[in-house]
């Protein structure tokens, strides 16, 4: 789960991690109010959307006067911000963060991430702050410091020292920096984060250290023990069909193509999308109704796919294991009759009780196209949409 920068900074404040003074505003007037309260100029007006790359897209601008705060905030709020992470459609900006400007001396990069292969928590740092860290890692990997922390032992002072010396920090800021890493680590662990990132981390000319930006992502599997974080969810940042699917515990991701597809199991669902593409068509979605899907989940999945206007044909691929094909066929037929299907449907079923399942589909009176195997199914649905 992702949250906004201003929300991440609220969490930082809770852990005494220094952030610039500032406040969130939903209109130009409110932005002006925040700036007046800050009583310092210049300030920075920052679009609050989940995607990264906001500065390059024109969503982060300095304001040198109160008048400018108002005009810039008015410009950014309501704009359709396009960044490399939003896709060409962009994301509508509904709020901005207004913050004090800083006297920047150095810009660093600092993050805490889990490392899946070693099952450790990694502190990543670099002197190349304020840049795309992926690019730094690809072009100049030697500029990135990685310190692995065993989650059973937790963070130790030497982890902090290694990071600090690696960044060539001056003695004046080292103590504050070490405290900051320790606090970040604890925030990461306490809240089951999947990423805590500060880019850039600023050392000011006054030799203070401040998190100019803040990004925090959470492990969706652990949200059951962080009810306070759920309040940070912003549905405006999510695809409406994905929001709808999440209500029924369906794994659904909206994509650009026109072949809707419904599959049981995530791996098989990905492979089904791939085979649609290999047959010359494009998947409209990823939809995993679960390895143990029931008729109700099939029905809800169906409804969500059909409410997507792009969809010109549907491929249902079910490998009946524990869930028998006859039960699934019944579910599909019921759902199709109830919802009223407007596009051709190709069904490929395999596994337990497949003959009974096929018979139910054939006798349903619905215009369902059955496929003998996966390849046949993909080719049939591709020829329909092309």
């Amino acid at each position: 789960m992702k949250i906004h920068e201003y929300q991440a900074k609220e969490l930082f404040r809770k852990y005494k991690i220094p952030v610039p003074e500032g406040g969130v505003a939903y209109s130009a007037d409110e932005a002006l109010g925040v700036a007046e309260k800050l009583a310092t100029l210049p300030v920075v007006v920052k679009a609050q959307i989940h995607a990264g790359g906001r500065g390059k897209g024109g969503g982060v601008k300095p304001a040198r006067s109160l008048k400018e705060v108002r005009s810039i905030a008015g410009e950014i709020i309501g704009m359709n911000l396009v960044t490399h992470q939003t896709g060409p459609g962009g994301q509508k900006v509904k709020k901005v963060l207004v913050e004090q400007g800083l006297n920047i001396d150095r810009e660093l990069y600092l993050s805490v991430v889990p490392d899946r292969e070693t099952a450790t928590i990694v502190i990543m740092a670099s002197e190349a702050g304020g840049m795309d860290i992926e690019a730094v890692a690809a072009e100049t990997p030697e500029k990135i410091i990685r310190v692995h922390v065993d989650p059973l032992a937790g963070i130790q002072p030497f982890h902090c020292r290694r990071t600090a010396f690696g960044l060539n920090l001056s003695p004046a800021v080292m103590k504050a920096f070490n405290r900051m890493i320790t606090d970040l680590y604890h925030l990461f662990v306490d809240y089951d984060c999947s990423l805590v990132e500060i880019n850039p981390l600023v050392i000011t000319k006054e030799e203070t250290i401040i998190a100019l930006d803040a990004k925090v992502n959470f492990d969706g599997n652990a949200l059951f023990r962080h009810k306070d974080i759920l309040a940070y969810r912003d549905l405006d940042e999510e695809d409406p069909l994905e929001v709808e699917a999440s209500k029924f515990n369906l794994n659904y991701i909206n994509m650009d193509g026109n072949v809707g597809n419904m599959v049981n199991g995530a791996g098989l669902a990905m492979a089904t999308m791939d085979i649609i593409k290999q047959a010359g068509a494009e998947p409209a979605n990823f939809l995993d109704v679960g390895g143990g899907a029931n008729a109700e989940m099939v029905e809800n999945g169906f409804r969500i796919i059909l409410s997507d206007d792009k969809v010109k044909g549907i491929l249902i691929n079910i490998f009946g294991g524990i869930l028998r094909c006859d039960i699934l066929a019944t579910g599909v037929v019921q759902a199709a009759k109830k919802i009223g299907v407007t596009v051709p449907i190709v069904i490929r079923m395999e596994g337990t009780n497949v003959e009974e399942g096929r018979k139910i589909l054939a006798e349903s009176g619905l215009n369902l196209i059955t496929a003998v195997d996966l390849k046949d199914a993909a080719e049939k649905v591709a020829s329909i949409v092309n």
């Binding site: 889990p114 599997n221 059951f224 791996g267 294991g321």
Partner: protein, 289 residues
């Protein structure tokens, strides 16, 4: 022969009295697995069908000499269940549960390193040695006993699809293992490849991976250096968009890493016969095995 599970497996089921635990325990018994005990704290002394239920894993292990545990405990309590099995010295722990927090699994994984137990999963279909023992939720009837193929996969139903195609080609399986779709898991590809390489009855291997992480890349390097048997590989997620979690918690492309294209290139380089179209996997195996 087979790996990790066979007729000597004495299975206990943690979470045996829940709906899923009950259902799948019955399926395992029906397949012929020797289920000796169940564990549900507070329900010790009861029975699930003919299976005695105990309050703790240690107690169940002492009374029944169980050497393997299958876990159906819900995600908030699953890491604790794994650690309880570990503490009781259970040799093979198969965690079916989906949705365990990564932080919990990181701790479990670090404790596993210092134990004699093997963990399969979590978020996996389990392990089956066709005709001998089924420890998991996979449909037993699609499998063909006797080998020669060993199957290892990060997925559930995708593995069933692969096994089904193998069976249709009359290619039997020695053991099929689902290592799970989570970012942090117990047994990995390399553990399974090592065991398949050492198993005389396994004469060919199918490895099914997906986007996210670099387990397939590491496995490919291992295969190039240490595996003499033919390997057919498949990677799901060629069309997956970056930055999105594709159902499995571990199936996510971060930046430029973990892409299907990258994995396939590395696997081909390592001499693995990569099948890029799932519809043709059975035929590709028949050709190479």
């Amino acid at each position: 022969m087979s790996i990790f599970a066979d007729r000597n497996t004495r299975l206990l089921v943690q979470g045996i009295t829940g709906n899923e635990g009950k259902f799948h325990t019955r399926q395992c018994i029906e397949y012929g697995t020797n289920v000796v005990a169940g564990v549900t704290p507070g329900k010790g002394g009861q029975k699930m069908d003919d299976v005695p239920v105990f309050d703790s894993v240690r107690e169940a292990a002492v009374h029944t000499r169980a050497n393997c545990s299958m876990i159906f405990v819900p995600p908030p309590f699953a890491a604790d269940a794994i650690l309880e099995a570990l503490d009781a010295g259970i040799e093979l722990i198969v965690a079916i549960t989906e949705g365990i927090p990564v932080m919990d699994m990181m701790k479990v994984k670090n404790l596993l390193k210092h134990s004699g137990s093997r963990l399969i999963g979590p978020n996996c279909p389990g392990i089956i040695t066709p005709g001998k023992a089924k420890i998991g939720i996979m449909p037993g009837n699609i499998h063909l006993p006797g080998g020669p193929v060993g199957v290892v996969s990060r997925s559930g139903t995708l593995t069933y699809e692969v096994v089904h195609q193998l069976t249709r080609q009359k290619l039997g399986q020695t053991t099929c293992i689902g290592i799970g779709g989570d970012p942090v898991n117990g047994t990995n590809f390399i553990d399974c490849l090592k065991a398949f390489e050492a198993d005389p009855e396994t004469r060919a291997i199918v490895m099914v991976g997906e986007i996210g992480g670099n387990a397939e890349e590491e496995a490919a390097a291992f295969i190039a250096d240490h595996v003499s048997k033919p390997v057919v590989g498949f990677i799901a997620g060629l069309t997956a968009p970056p930055g999105r979690r594709m159902g499995h918690a571990g199936a996510i492309i971060s930046g430029n890493s973990g892409t299907a294209q990258g994995k396939i290139a590395v696997m081909k380089e390592a001499g693995i016969h990569v099948c890029e179209n799932l519809g043709e996997l059975g035929e590709v195996c028949a050709e190479h095995f």
